[in-house]
Symmetry: C2
Subunit: 557 residues, 2 copies
């Protein structure tokens, strides 16, 4: 059978739905797709049964919803593609992360046991479950106190979103359930386990979310110092065979073949993470190619031949993006959500009315007005820290700022300054990588914000990098389909598969030297503010402390 | 005749209209008032005749409009008071300043000469005429370069609004008219000249706007270094008899008596400035009583026994508020206009709709929401420099800032932070006066912002000063009526008259120690930002320079 008659299916498990895409292995053509919404979406106030209400910052999911995606979206996508199911030779998946669940030794989620259906800790903890901050704080304090070598691989900060914080929360808040859980599994791996009947831990989440470095997890001493009951967490609940990205975890089981309509034994790739799997989809797996998945926040991923500890990165993992290379990840905590917040809270009625009259969104209206300005004309510089700063300062006590306001400042001025501030934040990351010896030569954008041409041009001008855009609206699913093609043996490795199947438009935006020079001046001011508020002073940290004290005081009265 | 049968008339010449108020001399009762709008309002785009258009930043007026106020508002106010015109024993006036006009030796404005009717420089230059900045810059540079002693009396900065800058602009842009002008007269004195037939220069504007210090103007050497043709400006065009505040300039002329219906020879007080004349109206002429006239901007006036040079004040003038005391003036360039700007540009439709549904203004709606918060709960601190900073930094290249923004920041949070920032700005002024040896013990508020109870309470809490409110909605006119009573000989001096005629509600807002302590923490952060942006760095100055270059560049292309 010719490659042009062969197809793989990529399934992207997002926050609210899963998307299956059928992709031709010869050229990456996306020939059919289907989306299936999670019936329970995100549980953030109550469980599906009973009267239990969830505290603030909780975010849970129901694992059965993931299987419903497999059952509905996959056959529908194949049907829409107009191909015969027998032409599908591989299946790949990617997931939000760190999204984890406690299961029995056979993979049964604890929440599916009737006796635990009303126990919040029995459910999937979604990536944005933020109720384990106290545990994360203790992990970080202890790691720095003991000088653990692995902490530097995470820019000095283990997130409350990750496996150890969520696992420790489980132990401390529901010890009975913790004891009952044989394993604490990434959903990315659980779904592959369901498809193949084999539990393989993917190298990506093991490294980025599970603190698996140099073949080891944090040791018993460390874990028992956190909590004596936690001593065996890594060896008992986490440890499993590690699968490299692009490897086959196994073949489709009979049950899953029946569910999807695909052939029994179809190759299934090891699990992956939505951001990281996007790199091959954008044909950007070489050193120097920084891929930015730009949405409400931005995730930067990039491969490099050697290990370097870059200040403030989210993580560096052996084989974390492509097997055989070191995968680097960095991030900006807030990007699109800052623009969304501004549009929602800070734009007067006249703008909303003008946008409506023109048949565009308020974002588009503001962008159109902002685009008419010369660089620096608004006289503003902003700090893009409304959700804190991940890279390179790793400080979530930081906050946003706008400097340069006058009585003639208009909404489009502040909007443009906010767009620029995120570009400056990216430039700080790029320059930090370079200064650490990790070159960045191309900036490849995926995600919803790639639609905003003004924003893209600003990024090109500010970073002086050529901007390429992924040429797919289904980047993660395409990336999963690429991994599936490698798992099926069509290509020898992911970079080779990406060359045929990945899709990118090169150099769509190139820096303009005149504007770049004008931005240099603004960037100099941004860096001055960045270092002042991020390093030299405690102003923002004090403001958060004052705020917390005020709220606590008020609730106490 | 008993004092309770005697009345004076105060006339307050504002920016768009003049207001006459009839006041009983025994107790300050305001028994009748009338307002008359200036027919020509402010000329900022064209002259009343011809096709001449005015450049940006120009603001002119027509002197005949002032006489129309005398002709219409005065008799109408007397009629409404229900008194006999013969019961009026004195007339006092106050004016915006520095508002100046070129006249012939007999007081005829040049703009009333038919041959000059189409010459912009022939008209009154209103206080907010800002087209003489280039001249002001040269005055300041030269004064500092030569080490002129008088520059310290003005916090180091002569404003573009004042007499020397406007006079130099007249010379350099229309030298023929400059030559034709026998005198360059404050409107405050011109109106008194019209009423009495005598030109007396009031000590207040001579000092604050005319650089008249220690009995001298800037000398010929200084003036000819600015421009050889300007050497005799002070001695030829400005110099005149100085009248102390409360003195009688003369009696009403026959012509003016006919125009107003008042008795010939009625005592007319020397001219005054609207802000300064408010101090006696609020019964606040003693050392330690700081009067703040709070509107779009805030003007602070306070008397003290001795001369001290307070860093960043607007001016200190012998007899500038009350004859025999040193009058101190300080200012905040933007206050109410910052709140107005925010309300106009940064509040979404839902707030405007909620305000409308509740039948309140957007200001009132935001204030109501902001008032529900504990101190510090919003997590923000702002800098109130949207119009630059007059006191104590004297730097109009500074700009506004908001620090501490998050994705949960709401419009009422920023609004409250802006209210607080102006209170912090006031506290810096109060503390600077104290540190210079000029005590401040009471804060007396006049002006429109006194209506906002939340704002007033914030000022009391932030400054830890008791707040008194003037008990008149016509403060300047009442102050002028008080000066008229002194000019008429009813009272020996202005402070004595103020005790009987001034009206104040004492201690309406008192500091709450708990909130004051909470504000101390926020103020500490404000001061850190104030000193960082105002003193340590050039960030804001650079932003303005970048902005100007961007605009210039753009206009050039």
């Amino acid at each position: 059978m010719d490659r042009s008659d062969q197809f793989t299916v990529g399934i992207d498990f997002g926050t609210l739905s899963g998307r299956a895409v059928v992709v031709r292995v010869s050229d990456g053509a996306e020939v059919g797709s289907a989306v299936h919404d999670y019936a329970h979406a995100v549980l953030d106030t109550r469980l599906p049964v009973g009267a239990v209400t969830l505290p603030p910052d909780w975010a849970l999911q129901v694992p059965r919803d993931y299987l419903d995606v497999v059952a509905h979206a996959v056959p529908e996508a194949v049907r829409r593609a107009g191909i015969d199911p027998s032409q599908v030779i591989g299946l790949g998946t990617d997931f939000t992360a760190c999204t984890v669940l406690p299961v029995l030794a056979d993979g049964t989620p604890l929440c599916e046991l009737p006796e635990y259906a009303e126990r919040p800790h029995a459910y999937v903890k979604l990536w944005k479950h933020h109720a384990a901050q106290a545990q994360a704080d203790r992990i970080n304090e202890l790691a720095h106190g003991r000088g653990e070598s692995w902490i530097a691989r995470y820019g000095g900060l283990i997130s409350s979103e990750w496996e150890f914080a969520k696992g420790l929360q489980l132990l401390e808040e529901d010890p009975e359930l913790y004891g009952r859980a044989d394993l604490f599994v990434e959903a990315a791996d659980w779904i592959v386990w369901q498809l193949t009947g084999r539990y393989v831990r993917n190298a990506c989440t093991a490294g980025y979310k599970g603190i698996y470095q140099d073949g080891r997890y944090p040791d018993r001493d460390f874990l028992s110092a956190l909590n004596p009951g936690f001593a065996a967490f890594a060896e008992d609940k986490l440890a499993a065979d590690i699968g490299q990205l692009g490897d086959a975890a196994g073949g489709l089981t009979e049950e899953m073949a029946a569910l999807t309509g695909l052939p029994v034994g179809t190759a299934v790739a090891v699990g992956n993470v939505d951001a990281h799997v996007t790199a091959p989809a954008a044909r950007a797996t070489e050193p120097g190619q920084m891929v930015a998945i730009m949405g409400t926040s931005t995730c930067h991923v990039m491969s490099h031949d050697v290990l370097v500890e870059v200040p403030g990165m989210c993580g560096v993992v052996d084989g974390g993006i492509v097997a055989g290379s070191w995968g680097y990840e960095a991030g900006q905590s807030g990007v699109g959500d800052i623009f969304g917040w501004f549009t929602r809270t800070s734009v007067p009625a006249a703008y909303a009315e003008a946008a409506e009259a023109a048949g565009v969104s308020v974002h588009e209206h503001l962008t159109g007005l902002a685009a008419q300005q010369a660089v620096g004309e608004h006289g503003l510089v902003a700090l893009d820290w409304h959700s804190g700063n991940r890279s390179v300062l790793v400080d979530h006590e930081l906050s946003g700022a706008v400097i340069g306001l006058t009585l003639t400042t208009r909404p489009e001025d502040v909007y443009r300054a906010l767009l620029e501030s995120t570009a400056f934040g990216t430039r700080v990351i790029v320059e930090t990588f370079r200064a650490s010896g990790v070159p960045v030569e191309e900036f490849v954008v995926a995600g919803g914000l790639a639609q905003n041409a003004l924003l893209m041009q600003i990024y090109a001008d500010v970073t002086r990098l050529p901007l390429s855009l992924i040429d797919s609206e289904q980047g993660p699913a395409l990336g999963s389909a690429i991994h599936a093609a490698v798992a099926a043996g069509v290509y020898p490795d992911v970079p080779t598969a990406a060359k045929s199947m990945g899709k990118v438009r090169k150099g769509v935006f190139v820096p303009d030297e005149g504007r770049a020079q004008a931005y240099d001046e603004l960037f100099e001011q941004y860096v001055a503010l960045h270092d002042h508020f991020g390093r030299a002073t405690t102003t923002m940290r004090r403001l958060k402390a004052i705020r917390r004290a005020a709220v606590a005081n008020r609730e106490g009265t």
